[in-house]
Symmetry: C2
Subunit: 119 residues, 2 copies
Amino acid sequence: MDAAARALAEPTRREILRLVRDDERTVGDIADNFPVSRPAISQHLRVLEEAELVTVRSEGTRRYYRARPEGLTGLRDWLDGFWALGLDRLRLEVEREQWQQRKERSASRRAHRQEESHE
Amino acid sequence: MDAAARALAEPTRREILRLVRDDERTVGDIADNFPVSRPAISQHLRVLEEAELVTVRSEGTRRYYRARPEGLTGLRDWLDGFWALGLDRLRLEVEREQWQQRKERSASRRAHRQEESHE
DNA sequence: AGCTTACGTTAGCAAAGGCTTACCAATCTC
DNA sequence: GAGATTGGTAAGCCTTTGCTAACGTAAGCT
């Protein structure tokens, strides 16, 4: 999962991943979509491959890359856990605050009655 | 979202986030859980704060950090979209392959019948 | 066989990133 | 007010990273 997270930290790599999500593409094809050299793309693809976020298929001199969405499982699970528990905590917090406010309002009402009875 | 992705690329920062997920904690408290100096943690916290993954509350000289799960929304959505579409593509692929195999099997049966009739 | 196409690899460079030490500011505490 | 806590900031040092240019290699093409 660490490898996946590091791989996704790069905007270019995220974009590459999006490019090969639906169809497989050759390196040259991919590189045409970016303002950097083909070797640069090749290196990005290596990172993505080592993170198991893409697969390759060789055909003659071409190499077809394609996204491998299962590779995102680890990161996704981590995020899901964090998200669920985090929002749960937030919900509890809101409830606690509302309860606090109700308590304060009734205290304030009591105080007002006190003042009134003093006049 | 870019900031969030970059922030999560660091194992230490992910761990920090986990630490302040349920309760808020002071910087020193957080730093005690890692084998690096307090300034290092302070810098990590700044990255997390700029990525809007944590919030701070000052109280005297202490600073209480706490996770902000909503900050993960962007990344989560990106991942979800990718994931859903990716698995959808996978499903279609499997179906296509099975169809292909059925076609090949019946072709093979036809071929066998041909051979037999030639003998 | 020779040229071309498609890619990976290497070396080298500049920028970014993570760490430490030293220092500074603000707030408690006595 | 003096010293101690708490924590952000700056400077400096490696290491990593993303890039390019140059080269190597294997598979088409003529």
